[in-house]
Symmetry: none
DNA sequence: ACATAACTACCCATTAAGGGGTAGATCGCC
DNA sequence: GGCGATCTACCCCTTAATGGGTAGTTATGT
């Protein structure tokens, strides 16, 4: 048998730490090496212990779970990190995944299921409670709605000007480039902002760059 | 008991159509109203029959599954559409979800599981084979913009403000976000523009986005 | 104790950008 | 011919952004 997985638990609820550690004991292949009651303390311990797995509570007073996670990753901690939470809010999940979580488990999952998910995370997969899968899909789909901006019919001139905008050029420069009056450029900018529902050239430029219209 | 779910199957493999239809027969709550062996034929039938559910093969010769799906959605077909496939390639999955799929099921799933997923899709959830969940997470994570500290020495505040700039925000909004005066934001902007040798916030924002500074 | 850097806040000024309008020229289409 | 879309150009005005200055506070290191 291989060495047990060295686990650190970060949660400000003593009772839940207790529950988790008992669950891990049951599974026998885990060794609890540390417990922390706050993000700061958890970060300290993580640096000192370099555990294989960190179980991290999302909803903590003071430093939140996602903040703690970000800090851990910034510090170069490469442990598998699983967020344990009662929240099924999409934004929490997406934020956690983006911040580098390896898993996202609901506290009310069955113990069996939790162990299975933890196991999945330890084997390199991203472990997410099945109830949350559709949330991920929704998050992806919402980005698709943003893409509908690219479906809006810009005229040839507007598209050209958006490209110059995405290069960071001022109205004056664009006018010189296209050999038209600056006022005319303003008209086109005004129209394209309205069509794409942007409130400023900066928003439009940022969007264009991020969507490869450079 | 409610009316059976009216199903259309689009797949160019006769054998698999057969298998699917038998599976649905078993479940009793489905009525197969049409079968198509190609994307074109499927679109025809979908328009005529307006089924409740469309099971669509991803890997078809000629018109692909995703193409067919896009066309169906463009035509205003509002049936639940589940892609059935052998592919576990992330890009296929992401493309399908983006194109408006309500589900994505692997052909080698157990019949029980397939029925459960189809049922989930019919109840408004996005049904995705559990094996694919981590792919979705990965897709999301790759879009996570990693902060790349540039070699130029920006202060902490300037870096923070550059991020907001890269989000297209105005001085006023940034000030509100950071809870400082708009004039102070202007100072920081002025300083960072000078340090990075930009002539406008748009140039800075465009550069920041292109260089992955969220 | 002193110097420095960073953050804050305000003063001044000019230019850039955004939002509304009218209007002429050109082109394709019913 | 008339209609609508597009591109052009100008009018108006308000707001946003930029570039310069001084200056107080805090923290950090010499």
């Amino acid at each position: 048998m291989t060495d047990p997985t060295r686990v650190l638990i970060i949660d400000d609820h003593p009772l839940f730490r207790r529950g988790l550690s008992q669950l891990l004991e049951l599974a026998r292949s885990f060794a609890l090496v540390g417990e922390a009651a706050s993000g700061q303390e958890g970060i300290e311990l993580a640096r000192r212990l370099d555990p294989d797995l960190i179980l991290l509570d999302l909803n903590m007073t003071g430093m939140s779970g996602v903040e703690t996670l970000s800090t851990l990753r910034d510090l170069g901690i490469e442990s598998r990190i699983i967020l344990v939470t009662v929240s099924n809010a999409p934004e929490d999940l997406v934020a956690a995944i983006r911040a580098g979580a390896d898993g996202y488990i609901l506290k009310d999952n069955e113990p069996d299921e939790m162990l299975a998910l933890i196991d999945a995370a330890m084997h390199g997969r991203t472990a997410i409670s099945p109830e949350l899968t559709s949330l991920l899909a929704t998050a992806l789909r919402e980005e698709r709605i943003v893409e509908q901006r690219s479906q809006v019919a810009l005229t040839e001139r507007e598209t050209a000007i958006l490209k110059y905008l995405a290069a960071g050029m001022s109205n004056k420069l664009i006018a010189r480039e296209l050999d038209i009056m600056e006022g005319t450029v303003k008209v086109h900018i005004r129209n394209l902002l309205k069509k794409l529902k942007f409130r400023s050239r900066v928003e439009a430029a940022v969007w264009a760059v991020a969507n490869g219209l450079s």
